[in-house]
């Protein structure tokens, strides 16, 4: 089964390769992986999509937690979540096709962010299946380039994947927070 794992890790050189190395050394799958600093510059957020039997994913979570650079880990798949991925797609748009592409983009709530006489570049966000659907309605010969960001995700509701010692307005009695 597919799992989306959200990881907070020390924003240090080598932290990313520890995660990537773990996956290759132990033969785990990585479908996608995104990483960027958080509002706390000492921490990076990594969102990792993997797949495997429940036993394997259980091991993946444990092995990730064992890495000294991993501060916190949440398997978003266990609860309600929001998933997003961004697609940048460059398509041939000439003559009568230009209107059709524009209409398709609008239907998918995409935005045309760059235009030339012969091509549109479209930005589209959504979950993976929406992006897949959009790509599938464009004729393959019209597609000049596809760039996908990989999945990011966040839990629905009040739950959050933050360091255990971090206070917020939800777990503090201090009205000023």
């Amino acid at each position: 089964m597919r799992h989306i794992i959200s990881i907070l890790l020390e924003n240090e050189a080598g932290a990313l390769s520890r995660v990537a190395g773990l996956f290759s050394a132990r033969g785990y799958n990585i479908a996608s992986l995104t990483v960027a600093p958080t509002e706390d510059p000492s921490l990076s957020r990594m969102t990792l999509v993997t797949s495997g039997s429940e036993d394997v994913v259980d091991q993946i979570r444990k092995q990730l937690n064992k890495l000294v650079d991993v501060v916190k880990l949440v398997d978003l798949t266990e609860n309600k979540r929001i998933e997003r991925e961004m697609l940048l797609i460059k398509v041939c748009a000439e003559g009568g096709e230009r209107d059709e592409i524009k209409r398709l983009s609008d239907i998918f709530r995409g935005r045309i962010i760059d235009v030339t006489e012969r091509a549109y570049t479209i930005e589209l966000t959504g979950d993976g299946s929406k992006l897949d659907a959009f790509i599938s309605v464009i004729h393959p010969r019209r597609i000049l380039e596809v760039v996908r960001s990989g999945v990011i995700g966040i839990a629905r509701g009040n739950a959050s994947c933050v360091p255990d010692d971090r206070s917020s307005c939800l777990n503090s009695n201090d009205p000023s927070v």
Binding site: E10, G14, D58, D69, V70
Partner: protein, 571 residues
């Protein structure tokens, strides 16, 4: 007062209580070696190859429980250390290995003696650090020792560019080494411990399977108390030998591929299995589909990733083996109940029948050729089971594990996980330094010993009276055994031609050497060697070339599918 990075390095070692630093100098660590020259508190042991440094530090760590500390230079210094680091990693041994690195501004330029030590060691360390600022040096060193020695121990590498060791800053020994991202669990979950106690109390055929984690966690006395309270049979893994006394009647021997008949059969037939500090390694479990088919399993381990990794267990308790077993004993005694006595009696009756197979029998009466088992039995008798025994890897390792009965932890020093040939001699250096008054025997073979033979020179330099027990059968014995069983005796490259004269070799290094080729000379030779308290003696025993290690479970077979010496047919 401002100190250089090199001076801070030495001060940190001193403040960590480091007694010995095993190392080899080179360009990138010369500032540090200069700082070492100017002090006497941290004793540096100069090895002859960086692999020897890591194994020596490892032997020191295994025999004392304290971290082993290594200093090597950049490039080949670091790569030579990798085998020793991986050895320690597989057996969860606390090491702190400092690798020199080229100057910060040269990193990435393919500078002379530059390697990416952090990248190369990443898969075989618990953690590694690179020091990028001299102001971080002290805290990184403190964290390195903290990470190496807590939780499930393991090696930690600290890579230090040369310029960092010349830069200056104020030195204060950091008090708090904690990392927000590293909080090992120590106390077991009380509910899980209660459930474990309940399950143990229902057992009719209980079995205790204890591994190296009991030794690493200094939990032998708790294990002993627990086993005795239960009245259950106890087996130790190769790494766990000495965790429970081998001469105790409740001990059924080592388990696994070359374990005893009774231990493996008891694993196969038990109804409740308590695993403590053991990781269900493939050499222990054999075919997982046939593993403990009748048992409900409890697993105590400090590493959550060990739980359910190879074998599904019913009750898992994550925590420090000592604390968890103490709580488990409290829960058991508080229950006011005991195990079903008649069932336990019947279980022991069955086990005694298995013991009656005498699975470790060999041709003792042979007066023509030395049986390797006979050498080890005699060594055991003469040292009264009280020596530190290091071993290399292969047949001699299995025979030592089978025939030297360890009653105490930290006496049996071997590379179990990685199976590193060449480990035994340098490991003995670390053990002998830590225990100068004790007998340290290195049980080895003519193939293994040659992998780190250069350390004989180190032994001479520091006057280490190690006793080398070389079981010389002119073959890589374990390879030969597998080729006999599984490759129709095609002994492909497992015969060692052109062996050195080990007696002369030992003598050329300044030691004593003795060749023994008749069984009736074995005892006298061992007595002679053990009597020489002040010098290394290399005993070269010319042993039976055809002897195999039994019992044996072929790879992929179950515990009940053992082959004994009496039935030589193997799958």
């Amino acid at each position: 007062m401002e100190l250089t990075g090199a001076e801070i390095f030495v001060r940190c070692l001193r403040d960590e209580g480091v007694e010995y630093l095993f190392g080899y100098p080179g360009g990138a660590v010369l500032h540090i070696y200069d700082a070492l020259y100017k002090q006497e508190e941290v004793k540096h042991i100069l090895v002859r190859h960086e692999q020897g440094a890591t194994h020596a530090a490892d032997g020191y760590a295994r025999s004392t429980g304290k971290p082993g500390v290594v200093l090597v230079t950049s490039g080949p210094g670091a790569t030579n250390a990798v085998t020793g680091i991986a050895t320690a990693y597989m057996d969860s041994i606390p090491l702190v290995v400092f690798t020199g690195q080229v100057m910060t501004h040269l990193i990435g330029d393919d500078a002379f003696q530059e390697v990416d030590a952090i990248g190369i060691t990443r898969p075989c360390v618990k953690h590694n650090f690179m020091v990028k600022d001299v102001r971080d040096l002290a805290i990184i060193m403190r964290k390195a020792f903290h990470v190496a020695t807590t939780g499930r121990p393991g090696p930690v590498v600290v890579d230090i560019p040369k310029d960092i060791t010349a830069h200056k800053t104020d030195y204060v020994f950091p008090q708090d080494p904690s990392l927000r991202s590293y909080r090992p669990v120590t106390d077991g979950d009380p509910a899980a411990i209660r459930k474990a106690a309940e399950l143990l109390l229902t057992a009719k055929r209980p079995m205790i399977y204890a591994g190296g984690g009991v030794i690493l966690g200094n939990a032998s006395s708790e294990l002993t108390e627990l086993v005795r309270w239960l009245g259950a049979p106890c087996t130790n893994t190769l790494m766990g030998l000495g965790a429970f006394a081998a001469t105790d009647p409740l001990f059924v021997g080592m388990l696994g591929m070359h374990g005893t008949y009774e231990a493996n059969m008891a694993m196969h037939e038990c109804d409740v299995l308590l695993a403590v500090g053991a990781r269900f390694d493939d050499r222990v479990t054999g075919d997982l589909d046939k593993f403990c088919p009748n048992a409900r399993i409890i697993h105590i381990d400090i590493d959550p990733a060990s739980i359910q990794k190879n074998v599904a267990v019913e009750i898992a308790v994550i925590g420090d083996a000592r604390l968890v077993m103490r709580e488990l004993l409290t829960a058991l005694t508080a229950s006011g109940r005991r195990l079903d006595a008649p069932a336990l009696k019947a279980w022991w009756h069955t086990i005694d029948e298995w013991r009656g197979r005498h699975c470790l029998e060999y041709d003792r009466a042979n007066t023509e050729v030395i049986k390797p088992q006979f050498v080890l039995e005699t060594l055991y008798r003469l040292t009264k089971g009280d020596a530190f025994v290091t071993s290399d890897v292969g047949q001699h390792q299995m025979w030592a594990a089978q025939f030297y009965k360890f009653d105490r932890p930290r006496r049996w020093i071997n590379s179990g996980g990685l199976g590193t040939m060449g480990f035994g001699l340098p490991a003995a250096i670390g053990v002998q330094l830590a225990h100068p008054q004790d007998t340290v025997a290195c049980v080895t073979g003519e193939a293994s010993i040659q992998m780190c033979i250069q350390e004989l020179s180190t032994c001479k330099q520091y006057d280490l009276p190690i006793k080398i027990i070389n079981l010389n059968n002119r073959y890589m014995g374990m390879v030969r055994q597998w080729q006999e069983f599984f490759y129709q005796s095609r002994y492909s490259h497992s015969y060692l031609e052109a062996l050195p004269d080990f007696v002369k070799l030992a003598e050329s290094y300044g030691h004593a050497g003795l060749r023994v080729d008749k069984p009736h000379d074995v005892e006298a030779a061992l007595k002679e060697a053990l009597g020489q308290r002040d010098r290394l003696v290399f005993l070269d025993f010319i042993t039976d070339q055809t002897e195999n290690v039994y019992p044996m479970i072929a790879a992929g077979a179950g515990h009940h599918e053992m082959h004994l010496a009496t039935d030589r047919e193997l799958a």
